[in-house]
Each structure stands twice: as structure tokens, then as C-alpha cells.
């Protein structure tokens, strides 16, 4: 969305002479690439340092080695399988923890009774880092899928719960009164006023929880697995294959970025009304 806006701006500027206009559009083409300049430069520096022998290959592989590891794992199909397994774990954790958090957030935002009964307990549980539960979780569930699912779901639960609650609580009471005056009640009031009003806050919760989702999954997969990106990294560590370890990190970074991009996209689609998302300014 910003990319379109940035590109679109100079085109609408009437260029007097050809020269400055052209210079501007060149800058406009380069501008979206600007955020990637630093990572590219860092990788280039890393490659140069590795080739020059400044970095030990045993501790830190050169980018070219990581690329080769990527190619090996990708062509053998191993990578796709592991990404699929990790992605599925992440999404199921998000679906379970997220929906429980969302529903409880709604319930506690809408019902004083539900809030009084559950909120104090939830706030206490929230202060326990979910990864501190690993020993207990292993005792409960063993080291299978359930343990990973439980930890991920627990991790994503709290940001979504807190932000949904906050969003519902902070819907403009004047709008709610207006809705009631105009005959809205029950589900209609919720659908037309409360939910859309809480949505920006819910998205904040979603984006927080996506970060926690990957974090939890990385740790859980490194503990004990027979598949997944974390398993791939952990096995590689045993054989001192630093290139695969780094590859796993890169993939986690890309998956995290992808999740954030998807969340942002959903946000900009559903919050078009919000002044912060109105990129097409016209008078």
C-alpha cells in the first residue's frame, strides 16, 4: 500500500522540465528499496569478511554457504516439509490460543461478571513467562505435538486477550449510546458498533502474538522434535553444520516477516475507514 502511494506521488507531480522530473522518479523507484539497503550491505560485508578469512567458517558460515545449504535442503524437499510442519504448528497454536483469547477478551469486555470472575486470575497467569512452563509441560504432555501446541497457544493467548479486552472496553460510549437510541441491541450493537470499534486494538494484539508465536515455537522445536525448522537446526548443530543452523534462523526471520506482512495487509483491508490507513489523500 505504501509502495503504491510512494510511487504514485511523483507521477502526479507535473514535471516542468524533463530533467528534475526524471531524477525524482528515479528516487521514487529506489525509495521502497531503501529499507533493504542496510541488510544487503551487511550481508555483503559478512561475505567479504568470510572470504578474507576474518571469520572462522566453523563458527559462522559465509552467506554463500548458507545459500548452498538452502539449495541442498530445498532440492531434497526436506526444507519444504519442515517449513510446512513448523507453519502448521504455528498456525494451529495461533488458532487455538488466539480464539480463546479473543472470546475471553470479548466476554470480559462485555460482561462485568465474567470480568470479575476471570480477569484477576488471567492477569496473574500472564506474569509467568510461558517458556518457564516447559518442564511442567513436558511432564504433562511428553515431548509430542501437544506440548508445542500448548506452549504456542498459551503464548499467543495473552496479547490477543488483553488487546481485545482493551478494545472492547474503549469503544466510544457515545457511539454505543447512539446505537441504543437508534434501536440497536444485542448482536446488532456488537456487529455494528462494538466489534468494529475494537478491531484496531485486536489487530495490535494479533501482531504482538505473531512475534510470540514464532519465539515459542523456535524454543519448543529445539527442545525435542523429529521435524520442523527447529529440529533441522538442532540436528545440524550436532553435526556442526553451521550453515544449516544459520539457514534455519534466516527462515524464521522470513516467516516472521511474512506473518507480519499478512497481518498488516488484513489490517489495511479492514481498517480502511481509519484515518491512519487512508493513504490515498485527495481533496
Amino acid at each position: 500500500m505504501t509502495l503504491v502511494a510512494d510511487l504514485g506521488q511523483p507521477v502526479s507531480v507535473p514535471s516542468g522540465s524533463g530533467q528534475p522530473g526524471q531524477r525524482r522518479s528515479a528516487a521514487a523507484v529506489l525509495r521502497p528499496l531503501l529499507p533493504y539497503a542496510l541488510p544487503v550491505a551487511l550481508i555483503a560485508f559478512w561475505q567479504l569478511a568470510a572470504s578474507a578469512g576474518l571469520i572462522s567458517n566453523r563458527l559462522m558460515p559465509a552467506p554463500v554457504d548458507v545459500a548452498r545449504a538452502f539449495w541442498d535442503k530445498a532440492s531434497s524437499g526436506e526444507l519444504a516439509v519442515n517449513i510446512g510442519v513448523s507453519g502448521l504448528r504455528a498456525l494451529s497454536g495461533l488458532a487455538i490460543g488466539g480464539s480463546i483469547g479473543f472470546l475471553l477478551g470479548l466476554a470480559n469486555g462485555l460482561s462485568r461478571l465474567s470480568y470479575t470472575v476471570t480477569d484477576t486470575t488471567l492477569q496473574m497467569l500472564r506474569t509467568i513467562p510461558n517458556l518457564a512452563l516447559i518442564p511442567l509441560v513436558i511432564l504433562w504432555f511428553g515431548i509430542g505435538e501437544e506440548a508445542k501446541l500448548f506452549l504456542t497457544a498459551l503464548g499467543v493467548f495473552f496479547p490477543i486477550y488483553l488487546n481485545t479486552l482493551h478494545g472492547v472496553r474503549n469503544v466510544d460510549p457515545q457511539l454505543i449510546e447512539m446505537g441504543q437510541v437508534y434501536g440497536m441491541k444485542g448482536f446488532t450493537l456488537f456487529r455494528k458498533v462494538i466489534f468494529p470499534g475494537a478491531l484496531p486494538s485486536i489487530f495490535v494484539g494479533l501482531r504482538f502474538s505473531l512475534g510470540i508465536m514464532w519465539l515459542t515455537l523456535i524454543v519448543a522445536e529445539t527442545l525435542s522434535s523429529s521435524s520442523g525448522i527447529g529440529y533441522m537446526a538442532n540436528t545440524a548443530r550436532e553435526f556442526m553444520m553451521t550453515d544449516v543452523v544459520v539457514l534455519a534462523l534466516v527462515i524464521y526471520a522470513l516467516l516472521g516477516k511474512l506473518a507480519d506482512v499478512v497481518a498488516r495487509f488484513l489490517e489495511s483491508r479492514t481498517l480502511q475507514w481509519h484515518p491512519a490507513f487512508q493513504t490515498d489523500k485527495k481533496d
Binding site: Y182, P196, G197, Q272, H274
Partner: protein
Amino acid sequence: MSEIIHRERRINAWGKEIEPEFTPRPVHPAPVPKGVGIRLRGVTKSFGTVPVLTGIDLDVPEGQFLAIVGKSGCGKSTLLRLLVGLDEVTGGSIEFLDEAGQATEPNARIVFQEPRLLPWASVLDNVAVGLGETVPQRQGRGLAQAALGEVQLSEKSGEWPARLSGGQRQRVALGRAMVSHPEFLAMDEPLGALDALTRITMQALIERVWAEQRFTALFVTHDVTEAVALADRVIVLDEGHIALDITVDHPRPRQRGTASLAALEAQLLAAIFR
């Protein structure tokens, strides 16, 4: 980019259903709009131990444009909230009467000082809120579009409220109140947040809509000039009771700043600051 295209497509889809230029006057399921009479007997209201209204007796004939003026805290907004059912009376009774003098439940609407538009709904959908859930969506669109025409905002139907000026937002709020052709319209300082020039335009608009639809209007304001410019009758509230009740029988549209209106204003101000 895609947002614009999306919105234009929606407008076009509506445009196909109803040509703005040739919109026939909508046929509303309710009978032709008409005002409703209001009868208050000994109405009192207290918040805790603090009395706000101390015995209001008032008869408002159907279709009257009644303005209530008074200092802040005189109870004028409280009276309005009682009349539209946002609060319950502490004592006394409020009755709405049809033509035959029988008690009735009127279709009542309110315009607040703030527009209170749903920021996530288009201008047209905001107006359609005024129809409630009873009208089918397709028909609702047509009625809402017609109401937008009444407040001269047809071309803004696909916009987000955030894109409108303060005066335009308040016009949308008026359209939302009018779309169901209420028998009773309560306005709580509806022009209080607008600039002086926009106020004049809005006053003319409110007067025109009222003249066409003949609902009973209750207009709460702290501006006596506005009150005498618009109302058939002006009431001064002071410490919870009616301090003055005068009729303004000047022909409409009223010339602003004439000597006789100024005399009425002086009389009202004297009652307010007594």
C-alpha cells in the same frame, strides 16, 4: 489505490439502483410523517439527592418547533434525555399523544451535539443506521440516499465520515435522524460545535426539513438568537423549572436581526440571568 476503485464500484452499484437526480420521494412503510403531541405533568428528576428538574408541566402541540434555552446546568439536556427515553423520570409523567389525543409510542429520534457517526461505515451506511433493522437493505439504501439528498450530501454517500468537515458530519447526523421520518425529533445543541457561518446554513437546513416534514421538534440550545430564529415557542429553564414560556409567531423564513426578534431575545436573556 485499490481502496478508491473499491469505493467507486460500490457507488456505481448503488447508482444503478437509484439515479440520484431522479429519486422519487420514498414510500415509507409508516404513514405520511406527522408530529406528535407531548404532555408533561409534574416531571421531576434527581441524580442522587441533587434535584435537576423540579416539577415541569408542559403541553407541546403536534408539529410545534419548541426551543429550550437556559444556563449550563439548568436541566435542559436532562429534560431532552427524559423525552427521548435515555433517562427515567424520578416523578411525574411524560405522555405522547396522537391526533385523537390517545397515548402513543412515537417514532422519536435524537441529534446529539457531536455527530456520533460510525467511523467505520460509509456516509450512506451511517444514514441507514437511522432505519433500524426493519427495512430491507435494498430499500434502505434508497431511503438513505434520499435522506442524504435532503441534507444536500448525495455526492458524499461513499465517503468515510473522517473525510467530511464538521458541518457535513452534522448534516449526516441530521439525515440519519430524518431517514425514518420521525414524529418527534430532539436536538441537543446540535450546532454547538460548529462555526458561526456553518451554523447559519445548518439552521436554514433544519428549518426547511422541519417545514417539509412537520415533526414535533425539540431544540435545546444556549443561543437565544438561534432559538428565536428557529422556534415557534421558546422556554427558559432555570434551576429545574420553567421560568418563561413565550411564543414566537413571526412569519418564516425569518429576517435576522429585526427589532422585534431582538426584543424577544432581550426578554429571554433577562429571564435567563434573573
